[in-house]
């Protein structure tokens, strides 16, 4: 699997009416396809911003980021077509039920078997009996399981997860983490997780610690 995201001497900051907020400077690292990666660090150092940059959602102020898929360099827009996301706040569509949420990416791509495939994924996350439940009728852990299935259902090259267990208790977090790492292995998708949890970071193939001073590869 020849997928890769390379950050070269990347620097990032925000300009606000009250002055400039610098996040990081001259940061270089790469996320290879088929592996799992974790970024850890205290609040406010720019972990989520680093994830946004890596996912091609924002352009870096300094340096460059190279996205490669199937051996070819691609644009951030193309990368997004090969990506999936898992959010801390789940961001399920409130008006759709569990199966509707999972089927949504497939339907957007015109897949006529969207609901059949979604039903398979519901089984994988052990929620096949909750197919027609709306997000408000699901617990936080259940919602995050649906969100994970939704991210993996279209078989993306990269999955970006922003604090996926940040809103969950320890037991549920473990369950959610199991699912993510199992699915990543099963589908071959690269998993890039931003987290506070050292337990979760431990499970990744590569781990980077981001601090105000610099980025350090700790695994």
């Amino acid at each position: 699997m020849d997928h890769k995201i390379e950050l070269k001497d990347v620097g990032h900051y925000f300009d606000t009416p009250h002055g400039r907020i610098s996040l990081f400077d001259k940061l270089s690292l790469s996320f290879s396809g088929g592996s799992t990666h974790a970024i850890v660090g205290p609040s406010g150092v720019g972990k989520s911003s680093l994830l946004s940059l890596a996912a091609g959602l924002e352009l870096p102020r300094l340096g460059e980021i190279i996205f490669t898929c199937d051996g070819e360099q691609i644009s951030p827009v193309k990368l997004r077509q090969r990506s999936g996301f898992v959010f801390q706040q789940f961001h399920l569509m409130q008006e759709l039920d569990a199966i509707g949420n999972i089927a949504l990416p497939l339907r957007l791509n015109g897949n006529k078997q969207a609901y059949d495939i979604a039903r398979e994924w519901l089984k994988k996350i052990n929620l096949d009996d909750r197919a027609n439940h709306k997000p408000t009728q699901l617990s936080g852990g259940e919602q995050q399981r649906v969100a994970i299935a939704r991210a993996f259902v279209s078989n993306p090259a990269f999955i970006f997860a922003d604090e996926p267990t940040g809103n969950l208790d320890e037991a549920t977090s473990n369950n959610v983490a199991d699912l993510m790492f199992d699915f990543a292995k099963e589908t071959g998708s690269a998993l890039i997780i931003v987290t506070h949890s050292s337990a979760l970071a431990e499970r990744a193939d590569n781990c980077f610690a981001l601090s105000e001073a610099h980025l350090e590869k700790i695994k």
Binding site: S48, S52, A55, Q81, E95, R107, L108, G110, D162
Partner: protein, 826 residues
Amino acid sequence: MSWIKLALDNFINDSKSSDGRLVILTQITLILFLSTLSLTSASVQQYLDGNLNNMLGADISVSGPRPLSNSDEKLLADKAARIAKVQLTPLAISLRGETIPVQLKITDENYPLQGSLKIGATQNQTIQKTIEHGPPPGEIWLGPRASSKIDADIGDRIAIGEETFRFSAIIYHEPDRLMEGHSVAMRALINGKSLSIEDIKSSKTLYRYLLTATAGQQENIENWASDNLNDFTLLTKASGDHPLALFWQRTENFLGLASVILFFLAAIAIDMANRRYLERQKQRLAVYLSFGQSLASCLRLSLLQWLLGFLLSFLIAIGLAYIAQYFLIAQLAEQFPGITSGWHPATIVKTAGLIFILLLAFQIPMLWQLSRTSLVSLIRAVAYPSAHLLRLFWGFASISLLAAYYSDNFLLTGLTLGALGAALLLMAILSWIVLTAGELWGRKYPGLLSFNFFIMKQRILSKSSQILGLGLCSLLLLFTLMLMKDIGTTMEGYTRANNGNLMVAELQAQDKPVLEDWARRNKSEIRQLRPYAAAKLSEINGLSIDEAISTPSDTLATVKSSIRLNWSNTIPSNNQLVGGKWWSEKEANWNQISAEDEVMTDLGLNYGDQLTFVIDGKATQFKLVASHAFKPGGGSVTFWFQIPERAIEAIKPEVFYMGSMELPDAAWSELGSLWQNHPSLSLVPLKELTQRFDDTLAMITKLVVGYAAMVLIMTALVIAASMKGFEAEDRQKNGLLMSMGVTKKSCVKLALYDWLTVSLIAGIGAISGTWLAGLLIYQSQFSMTYEPDPIWLVSTMLAIGVTVCGIGVIYSRNSLSTSINNLLSD
């Protein structure tokens, strides 16, 4: 296909939310109103065209206030293929002691040249006999209303003066019926050989010559008539100048303005309902982006979803519009006999296109905001650019476009939009001043009220849009109610201002001693009798009326036919001088004229203008030197145009009188004999006159109530939208306050302060805007003097304000019970 299915799913899901339903309901109401207006208008237009093509009774009609000279008539007959002569005159007819005034049509043996008449033997006959000629000599045909009023049966002998005629048929329709315009007079038809028409003189007599002619002949006749018959009106099928078209055009202008106002309200309601919808849509698009969808596809989906909403609203509204058209056309049947409702697909397509473009234009600011959607917003907070200014500008531009399309009265539209714009600016400035001052005051005096100002100031942008929305809505409602109230009062004023219980609408000079003698014998009192001559305005500053004036008005429609010209050396006791200089008795120059102030405004006349009147076939020029207005107290008879007495000595016209009498009860039964002996006497009992006004008033009231109902529905939608649109923010605020230990009662109090502040600013803006609109529009557009009634304005606004505050507080109370739970779940 899957995109359409997805857009449909999203649409159905959104329709389940109150915001979604509100937008659809607003769209349905708006489309319903505009489509009903267009459909009804198209039906009337089709009717008018159809009438003109099939029912003129000739190729050309030439009408004027005098008979043509023998040489002119011969010349006209030579130029045309065929000619028929018709005379219309108001007369009294009698049967068994009962006398009624009718509009008598005297026809010759050639009438009608084209088309046919419809007659019957009984009232309300559905199957009528079609016939190609008028009544034979010795017979009279009566209209259904006249025959029922005088209680005539076929075979009865109807008397006109001393002669009697056999009532042989009820006349239902004749081809040139509509030429008489919008008239409610009772009618009768008689053959010219039956009556010696030379004996009948009336200032209201109309002579009409119907002609058939080839295209070449028509052009020849038109040229000849424009050079030689400047007091005659020429109408051809080809020109399409229907007499009722102008009346309908004015109605359309008013309805056009009404549409603009309703569109404005709809724009506010949709904008407010879209506030929350926008948030949901942004989140939806961000999630779609996280699946790798491009922004363009997401926007396309959003647009498709909106389109489905439009289609649904359109289908429902069009169905309802056809039903509404059916009922409206039934109401209009009295003004347009024989009118039917129709499908008018081209009109519907045109209207749908216009509404589609405008509603789409309302979506553009939202699409612009949606195009800024970022996936990053799902990871961390992102500040989206505010589109307040864009929305405001776009809304105003769309409304102006609609106004330009619908109304051809740019001044009225400009003044309305100007007043709205000024009120908007005032409310925006007031919002800033009140909230800033309130917040500064609150720093010194902490408490709930100061907290209210603080929190409102923090949310000034969203609060201002709520204030502006409610303010504009109240303004439009207030202005509509005020206009309707004042038009009603003005009309009632006209009705009741007549003194005496019998109006003498017209009296020939030779009948004056007869009337005076009759009054003496019957102990009746002649309150007023003022002389006048029949005159027709033919030119203004050397230009024909059509060339000189392009803005339609009731006044213009009236001056196009014969008017009454009065003379007086001094200003009459029931008139006052408004401007210019009234002539003196000694002045030798009698070519001077004074016009009523409202007439000057409507016709756009200025002092110094040269007005040419044709009096008894002779053109005379007058210089406009003064303007006068009615002053109550000195009798109700007043004239639009007045000239010096010396002018009458010079012109020597046929003199008529009009005035009023007070009859004791016993005299009424004697009136019939007077009328029978002098059938050209035009007398109208006040009761009947009141009835006519009441009928007109009832029609206007119906229109007004219907329109006010539409404004009320739209206002209710705006209020609902403004409450729902801010529900989330209010709930969050209340939840936070209650979690800090603030009691429910205090939260309700806070909501009350909030609504009171909003209502106060909106109320001041609405009252100021209404006052400004009244000042700008009343005089120039409705010829009414604007006398603001501050007590009515403030009390009506208070009623609106209390209702809004009441609903707002009740709504807040309901949302309080779930606030903390919601906050926790949020």
